[in-house]
Amino acid sequence: MIPWFALAAGVPTVFGLYWGFFETPDILSQQKEYYRIIFVHVPAAWMSMWLYLVLVGWAVLGLIYNTRLSFVMAAAVAPTGALFTGIALLTGVLWGKTSWGTWWDWDPRLTSELILFFIYAGYMALQSAIEDSYRADRASALLAIVGLFCIPLIYWSINCPDPTQCAALHARSSLSAIETNILIALWTMVFAFWMYSFAVIFVRVRNIILERERNSTWVSKLVGGDPS
């Protein structure tokens, strides 16, 4: 199943990029070609947020139904989510350099992304710090849920440090106002990132299960004849 996802990730990426580079007109004129960065920056940022929701979803399921697999899914999502957060940050910094002239500007959205990175890091750190996997799973699940509650507060506090008025550096343009060609390329990239995520996460789930069950007999039997 995994190879299919890999394929599903590869093709749209090529397609999305092609579209993004050749089909979209140079609407913002030659001086603003750098806007093409958004074709990785925006999808990556979206992925970082959606994957966190997925993580919390699995965490909640795990806590309610007490199923080990849910926790394994949550743990598998985390590194990929963190990766996309990192990509969003790095590309965001590069975007900032080109469009605002500085490497880092404490722009609220980018700063919130940084905090999200720390929240991912906290989740993974807590999981690896506790040796008992039963307790580790549940503790980090609870942490993720608490984090979810706090993220909107954190975002709003960074976005509006002054409660009486709010300002932001990211121009607030509604999605519908964006040229269709760009939208198509964007959504294609988002789809591609999702396929990539599925593939990578499922591989990781397999790895985690192998690692956790390494002392059990069914695993030894499975591996016995096949050292690939």
């Binding site: 720390f118 609870l142 706090c150 960074i158 409660p163």
Partner: protein, 228 residues
């Protein structure tokens, strides 16, 4: 479950905690000394120019308060965890969240409140005066309980974990950001007279109420997870 026995239990717990803390008075002073020391470091490193200090004062004081709170968090549950009384608390018929609230209150009374009372001294260091000092005390009065409340979740999650102190800081600091932003904002607004400080204080009050309602539940859940 009768409400009178629950509130009785909380009062007993509160008295016990405070008595214990009073017996180990020196432990109470460490976070306070830390607070004063950190705030004293900045003028030494950045320079003692009056307007500069007035500018950075609110932020520095709040960050120092945050760090001092983090330092003191580990002690919230540790001694009870080590002598087994924490497990006893889990077994009593009284609702755990209520007991937790009592413990958090005790913690704040011995770490947060002294800090609030001590803050004007530090305020003088930073050339803050009169009304600003009062605003600062109010803001800290509203904010430090939230620090204790949120920190309790982290303390419960990292109970007994190796390297827990640093991990605790990594987990909790992102969650502290809204309080930091608005707390420092309140003091800054009052200092520069550019904005009314009241909206900030109202927001902090809202945070406090929200935290009082939600965090004991989360902390109780975390305690159950950590103690199995």
């Amino acid at each position: 479950m009768s409400t009178s026995s629950s509130s009785q239990a909380v009062l007993v717990l509160l008295r016990r905690d405070l008595t214990l803390a009073f017996r180990h008075r020196s432990e109470m002073f460490t976070p306070l000394f830390f607070f004063i020391l950190v705030t004293a470091l900045f003028p030494m490193s950045i320079g003692a120019e009056r307007s500069l200090l007035q500018n950075i004062g609110p932020g520095v004081i709040w960050v120092a308060a945050l760090l001092a709170a983090l330092l003191s968090l580990e002690s919230m549950f540790r001694s009870d965890y080590e002598d087994g009384s924490l497990e006893q608390m889990l077994l009593t018929p009284q609702p755990l969240s209520l007991l937790v609230l009592g413990k958090i209150l005790a913690h704040w009374l011995r770490t947060g409140l002294p800090l609030v009372l001590l803050a004007p001294l530090v305020g003088f260091q930073y050339y803050l005066a009169g009304e600003t000092l009062i605003t600062m005390m109010l803001a800290l009065l509203l904010g430090t309980p939230v620090l204790s409340l949120l920190g309790a979740i982290g303390a419960a999650l990292t109970l007994g974990v190796r390297g827990g102190g640093m991990l605790l800081s990594l987990l909790i600091l992102p969650l502290y950001i809204p309080i930091l932003v608005y707390g420092a904002g309140a003091v800054a607004a009052s200092a520069t007279q550019s904005l009314p400080a009241q909206p900030f204080l109202l927001l902090l009050g809202a945070f406090l109420i929200l935290a009082m309602v939600l965090t004991p539940v989360a902390t109780a859940a975390a305690l159950r997870i950590s103690l199995g």
